[in-house]
């Protein structure tokens, strides 16, 4: 018995690794023409891990006060060895993660993996998506440059539009009436403590549920396999699927490295709270579709404020989307088709609005 083997046994007697090992060895992943979409969940988790690591590294040098925030990021970009790399990876990976999280959500939606018994997995996943957007929004302010300052101002303004709770939410987010150093402190707290804590819990829950129920198979494939059980194919999670995931993760690492070295994230100009907003202020790309659609809504619709209706409309849409497992239980064919149609419309809407926002004058 080698030394490593003895250590393994010692730990196993106390932690019970072997149960987990057995489980992993028996875990399988279905193989069909949609299987590639299965990579997105792990990809999002991988990018989250990168965010945590680079985030902790940034924490070693970042200072969350208006006087120092910008200068500390500048310090990281110019003086700290490989600071430029850590910071640019953090910024790029954040955007990539929002993309993969959204893609993961859409793939789950269209493959209808939210059906019974996976409703809670879907719910926790949607919450994680909102958290990811919250991470993006709170993190965007931290470099304290002109763009991020005014983007935060506009974003929190829109949050404050909510009827009833709006003003309270605005004050809560900003730590006051305006975007100030208090906002920076708060957003920093959200970004490094509150959101990670909630996210960690939800990720644990989400992963546990996924292990419990195994990988879902889309209705069309399910039907095909039920008709011809011989067609059913699954590969082992460990090592086969995991090795493939590893390849995908390495590709993402290459992309992140390339982006950081060739297209580093800009520093910008230090925010001046008393200065005028520069023209063309806009939020990050993942909020653009909302930003653009709100611009299209007329100032007044009948007796209601147009922007307010828009915000509430989006709120209602997101709520309905989150509750989709309770509408589409998989039992009624026309509901399934309808929900898919709504999904296509939603995805198309987001795509068109985002494209328009960037290409139109």
């Amino acid at each position: 018995m080698s030394a490593a083997g003895r250590v393994k046994d010692w730990l196993d007697e106390r932690f019970g690794w072997h149960e987990i090992r057995t489980f992993i060895e028996h875990k399988t992943v279905p193989v069909h023409r949609f299987s590639y979409w299965y990579f997105l969940g792990g990809m999002t988790l991988f990018l989250f891990t990168i965010q945590v690591i680079t985030g902790i590294l940034l924490l070693l040098y970042y200072r969350p006060t208006p006087n120092d925030a910008f200068e500390s990021v500048q310090y990281i970009m110019t003086q700290v060895p490989f600071g430029w790399l850590i910071r640019s990876i953090h910024s790029w990976s954040a955007n990539l993660m929002v993309f993969t999280a959204a893609a993961h959500m859409f793939s789950v939606f269209f493959l209808k993996s939210y059906r019974k018994p996976r409703e809670l997995t879907w719910l926790s996943g949607m919450l994680l998506l909102f958290l990811t957007l919250g991470f993006g929004f709170s993190g965007y302010l931290l470099p304290w440059n002109t763009l991020s300052f005014f983007a935060t101002k506009v974003g929190t303004d829109i949050a404050g539009l909510m009827p009833g709770l709006g003003p309270w939410i605005l004050t809560f987010l900003r730590g006051g009436e305006d975007v100030t150093g208090a906002t920076l402190t708060r957003f920093f707290g959200f970004h490094v403590a509150v959101l990670p804590g909630i996210a960690a819990t939800l990720i644990a829950l989400h992963l546990l549920l996924v292990q419990r129920f195994g990988m879902s198979v889309p209705p069309s494939v399910e039907a095909a396999w039920q008709a011809r059980p011989g067609d059913r194919k699954e590969i082992r999670f460990f090592p086969n699927f995991l090795l493939r995931e590893l390849m995908a993760w390495y590709v993402v690492l290459a992309i992140l490295g390339g982006l950081a070295a060739l297209k580093p994230w800009e520093l910008g100009v230090k925010a001046d709270p008393f200065g005028a907003a520069p023209p063309g202020i806009r939020p990050e790309w993942y909020f653009m579709f909302m930003f653009q659609s709100l611009k299209f809504i007329p100032a007044k619709i009948w007796i209601f404020d147009g922007e307010l209706l828009g915000v509430m409309g989006f709120g209602a849409a997101f709520l309905a989307w989150t509750l989709v497992p309770f509408f589409d239980t998989g039992r009624r064919g026309w509901v399934q088709k309808f929900v898919t149609g709504v999904g296509v419309f939603g995805l198309g809407f987001i795509g068109v609005m985002t494209l328009y926002a960037y290409t139109a004058k």
Binding site: T78, R236, Y250, A261
Partner: protein
């Protein structure tokens, strides 16, 4: 006269009823009349005189409380009627030169306008009988007089040029005088106009800044540099140490305007000094004389630093595009630009050595910023090399994984049912 009066009588009573509270019966009729008897009542009520409680009788005499025209405009009430142009300055001066009286309204208002006016070209010509020249109301208006600080005033800094050139740019009006009428056209192309009208810097000069307002007259050759130096101190101090001062005085040439002109002062470029076509130096200097060589030397110095700054700028921009943070070096470059600005002032001493001192200070900075640029480019190359290495290792891993997976699955497909 009587018929007009009768007609007016018919009009007056209903208006009088309207203006019962306003004891200015003059305006009851005169606000309805056309020129030359008409007065814009709204304008007048906003004017500084009306605001301070002075009405028509303050200047025109008469009785503004009477509805009866003959009483209101009667000799008994001291009615003066239309004031002759030649009488206007003395009339205004009756109050505005009375320090004790003016103290009651605004203790810090000057009371020497009339005496200044009498020294001006306008005042002197008026005394000789020329009523063509400007009197008080030509610049301040008659019934719409506002304090100069009021943006609607005809003598608010941004409006002064328009007020002066109502006459001075009117070739027809000025045809009997031997002075040009292109000042406004020239001024509108100048940096001073840009500063005042476009950048809204109210400290920038307009006509009255250099020529005076009430005592308006051209500065005179000997005084030009003093006028300019109220803002451009350094240039004048340096000019006074240069050989040009004595020479220009002897040649009866004005200090600053000989090179910069008076009204159409352009933003100077480095091309203004030197020996090339378009430089002012060669207007007097010829090849071989000391001044010619000095001009060439100074021009070369300025161009050298300008070029070095440009070189650093380009390099830093390249480095920035390659992704390296160079904001510190860019900031340091501003110091070099300051040196160049200083050198461009020092040329007024016509001393190439003094100019060179400033240039050298700037070149020291550009040397450092250029170095910083080179370091940044090297850093970007280092980053790309590092990226290349890690990409190679990643590629190795990807290939190895692919082969490993295929070998693994050849032995044991790992597929279950």
């Amino acid at each position: 006269m009587l018929s007009v009066g009768a007609a007016l009588m018919l009009v007056a009573p209903p208006l009088a009823a309207q203006n019962k509270a306003n004891l200015n019966t003059c305006l009851d009729c005169h606000s309805q009349l056309d020129a030359p008897f008409g007065v814009n009542a709204a304008e007048f009520s906003n004017s500084i005189h009306a605001q301070k409680g002075l009405g028509c009788p303050s200047c025109h005499g008469g009785d503004s409380s009477s509805d009866d025209m003959t009483k209101a405009m009667g000799k008994a009430a001291g009615f003066k009627g239309h004031i002759d142009r030649a009488q206007v300055p003395a009339l205004c001066g009756k109050c505005h030169s009375d320090a004790a009286y003016m103290r009651g309204f605004n203790p810090s208002l000057r009371t020497d306008q009339f005496s200044q006016y009498q020294t001006s070209v306008h005042g002197q010509r008026l005394a000789k009988g020329d009523t063509h020249v400007a009197v008080c109301v030509d610049c301040h208006t008659t019934h719409n007089i506002r304090p100069p600080k009021d943006p609607a005033s005809s003598v608010y800094p941004t409006n002064v040029a328009q007020t002066c050139t109502r006459c001075h740019a009117n070739a027809e009006y000025m045809k009997d005088y031997k002075i040009p009428t292109n000042q406004l056209a020239l001024y509108n192309t100048s940096v001073h106009h840009e500063a005042l009208a476009v950048q809204e810097d109210l400290s920038a000069p307009t006509c009255s800044t250099c020529h005076g307002s009430h005592g308006a007259a051209p500065p005179g050759v000997a005084s030009v540099e003093h006028v300019c130096s109220t803002c451009h101190v350094f240039q004048q101090q340096l000019f006074d140490t240069s050989p040009h001062k004595a020479i220009f005085a002897a040649m009866n040439l004005g200090g600053c305007i000989t090179c910069h002109t008076n009204h159409g002062i352009q933003r100077p470029s480095d091309a203004l000094i030197g020996t090339a076509n378009g430089a002012v130096c060669v207007t007097c200097h010829t090849e071989g004389d000391a001044g010619y060589q000095g001009a060439a030397a100074m021009h070369a110095s300025l161009v050298k630093l300008g070029d070095e700054i440009g070189r650093s700028e380009q390099l830093l921009l390249r480095a920035e595009k390659a992704g390296v943070e160079v904001s510190d070096a860019k900031l340091a470059l501003a110091e070099a630009r300051d040196s160049l600005t200083k050198a461009r002032v020092t040329i007024h001493s016509a001393n190439p050595d003094a100019v060179d001192k400033d240039i050298q200070a700037g070149l020291k900075v550009t040397q450092k910023t250029y170095q910083a640029g080179l370091t940044a480019i090297t850093e970007s190359k280092y980053r790309r090399r590092g990226l290349g290495i890690s990409l190679i290792t990643i590629l190795i891993v990807l290939i190895a994984l692919a082969v490993f997976i295929s070998k693994l699955e050849a032995r044991n497909p790992g597929i279950t049912k």
